[in-house]
């Protein structure tokens, strides 16, 4: 697969320190720049302009005009037009990445994107601390102020720039890429990430529902990172998952016992796919691979299938066999119920 369909929402459950989720966030935006899409960046903790300064540099041999031509035209909102985002299953380095049938681009994260590439890109930003406080309208008065303000801002851009088809554009139709950082954190004024019984447990779900409506009715795609590890109330995360199209959880090994576990020595963390989209089809297509791990190299962030080493030796001690079995159980449970128990297969 690969790609995020127009009109859908990708939710990333942040890893504990937010390191890798922020990287994916930047990849998404970088791809938008390279494809010539408009950007909307929202954050409560970091100036969007600063985020944009740190985007990874694309690996392009030819000038950027050729890259622009790859954007295809869209006929209807829910056409399955794919926008590429950084999702590389097997690491490979391509000497000449620019062909017209290519889907997605490669980036070098050790370098930042040059500002020339931004010249023709419209970047809209939303930085909560700098937004004027909202006049509470009756419709939104039950929703958290920050979220309500963000929704209004998104809706305004979609309407004004014609992403919802309201002004027939003379120029070629374009896509709006929306990136929202750390939604649900305290900085947005939501207390779901600091208490078991938040005062307003529904603001985030309401926000997501209205956002879903906005996305479905416009030529836009959205990525949101959520500090899920801070949200104690699991019911909220269940509803949040239900309201998103794709949900991916990042689990980094920093500071956990897995960092020293020989099973994971090549990797920096695991990726859990909690939900895949059900779009225009009877039932979603479940991929074979449930166990994905990622690693951050100097120039690249790669996602690979996780292979457990075969348990060959008889002299392997009991404790490590248990660990292997436990790890196997953990990995294969994926988004469904795995086979229970700690038994491992003896060959």
């Amino acid at each position: 697969g690969g790609g995020l369909a127009v009109g859908t929402l990708l939710l990333i459950e942040e890893d504990i320190y937010g390191v890798y989720s922020h990287l994916l966030f930047k990849y998404f935006l970088a791809e938008g720049v390279v494809c010539g899409h408009d950007l909307f960046v929202a954050s409560a903790k970091e100036l969007p302009a600063n985020i944009l300064k740190e985007l990874p540099a694309p690996l392009l041999d030819n000038c950027k005009n050729e890259v622009r031509e790859e954007t295809t035209t869209v006929t209807s909102e829910d056409d399955s037009m794919q926008i590429a985002w950084r999702y590389q299953n097997f690491p490979k380095v391509e000497a000449s990445p620019n062909t017209s049938s290519r889907f997605g681009h490669y980036y070098d994260i050790s370098k930042t994107m040059s500002s020339e590439l931004f010249h023709s890109i419209k970047c809209h930003s939303f930085f909560l601390p700098e937004e004027p406080s909202l006049q509470p309208t009756v419709k939104m008065h039950n929703m958290n102020c920050g979220y309500a303000r963000l929704l209004q801002s998104i809706q305004k851009i979609i309407y004004q720039e014609g992403f919802d088809g309201s002004h027939p554009q003379k120029k070629q139709k374009n896509i709006l890429r929306i990136g929202i950082q750390s939604l649900g954190s305290m900085l947005w004024g939501d207390d779901i990430s600091c208490t078991d019984n938040p005062e307003d447990a529904h603001s985030l779900t309401k926000f997501l529902y209205v956002l879903r409506g906005l996305l479905r009715k416009s030529l836009s795609a959205c990525i949101i990172t959520v500090p899920a590890h801070l949200i104690q109330n699991k019911a909220i995360m269940e509803r949040v998952t239900n309201l998103s199209d794709v949900v991916v959880g990042l689990e980094s090994f920093i500071g956990s016992e897995r960092e020293t576990n020989p099973l994971y020595k090549d990797y920096h963390g695991l990726i859990h796919v909690h939900q895949i989209p059900r779009l225009n089809c009877l039932i979603c297509d479940v991929s074979d691979t449930k166990d994905l791990a990622f690693r951050l190299k100097r120039k690249q962030f790669t996602i690979e299938r996780l292979h457990l080493p075969p348990d060959l030796s008889d002299t392997v001690s009991r404790s490590s066999k248990q660990e292997l079995a436990a790890a196997a159980k953990l990995l294969s449970s994926g988004c469904g119920a795995g086979a229970g128990g700690k038994k491992h297969l003896d060959f």
Binding site: S76, Y209, R216, K217, A235, E238, L243, G336
Partner: protein
């Protein structure tokens, strides 16, 4: 009085059943009112075409009334402001959402016209007429109201998980199970991957 069929899914996606019922009733020539809360019209249209039914045509000839939650919520949230007094005067009513969709006429035609009624709820409590989330108790009353008011069949999809911590949803699902005449439950096999 028609039958109330509850579709339920756990650990898997049971919406294929909804697509089935929708095309089944339409092909049989029944009048259908469909409430879609989480997906857009075009999603259902595309799948229905694969099943041999054209939703757009059905809508045009009046066989199908399609209420799209996502679109209507945008009207509610970003639509025109009504004067404050009017808003305060109205009590949050579960049917407010549907009436706002312009479904009043469809409902008023009532029992005789709506031979078959189809509802698809995935997360009913996410509804926000006037910015208030419907608690489970209200949803249950709402469904019961429809059941009595409408003389056709009702089909509804809910999601539940065994280890779910969402007590409100569990309450809603359990209650609907009691109210229903037939339950179709889609569950994944433990050995299968989702």
């Amino acid at each position: 009085q028609g039958k109330f069929t509850l579709l339920r899914d756990t650990r898997t996606d049971g919406s294929f059943l909804v697509h089935h019922f929708l095309s089944f009733y339409l092909r049989a020539g029944c009048k259908v009112c469909f409430v879609a809360l989480l997906q857009s019209f075009s999603h259902y249209n595309i799948v229905a075409q694969k099943l041999g039914v054209n939703l757009t045509a059905a809508k045009e000839r009046g066989q199908l009334v399609f209420l799209e939650g996502l679109g209507s919520c945008l009207d509610v949230v970003f639509g025109e402001e009504e004067p404050e007094e009017e808003q305060e005067a109205k009590q949050p009513h579960p049917l407010q959402f549907l009436s706002h969709c312009g479904a009043r006429s469809a409902w008023a035609g009532g029992g005789s016209e709506c031979q078959n009624l189809l509802l698809f709820q995935r997360d009913l409590r996410a509804l926000l007429p006037r910015g208030r989330v419907l608690p489970a108790a209200v949803c249950i009353k709402f469904v019961h109201y429809i059941y009595i008011f409408c003389q056709g069949n009702i089909v509804m999809l809910v999601h539940s998980d065994e280890d779910s911590e969402d007590k409100e949803n569990e309450l809603l699902v359990t209650s609907l199970c009691h109210h229903s005449d037939l339950i179709l439950w889609a569950d994944s096999i433990p050995s299968a991957l989702c």
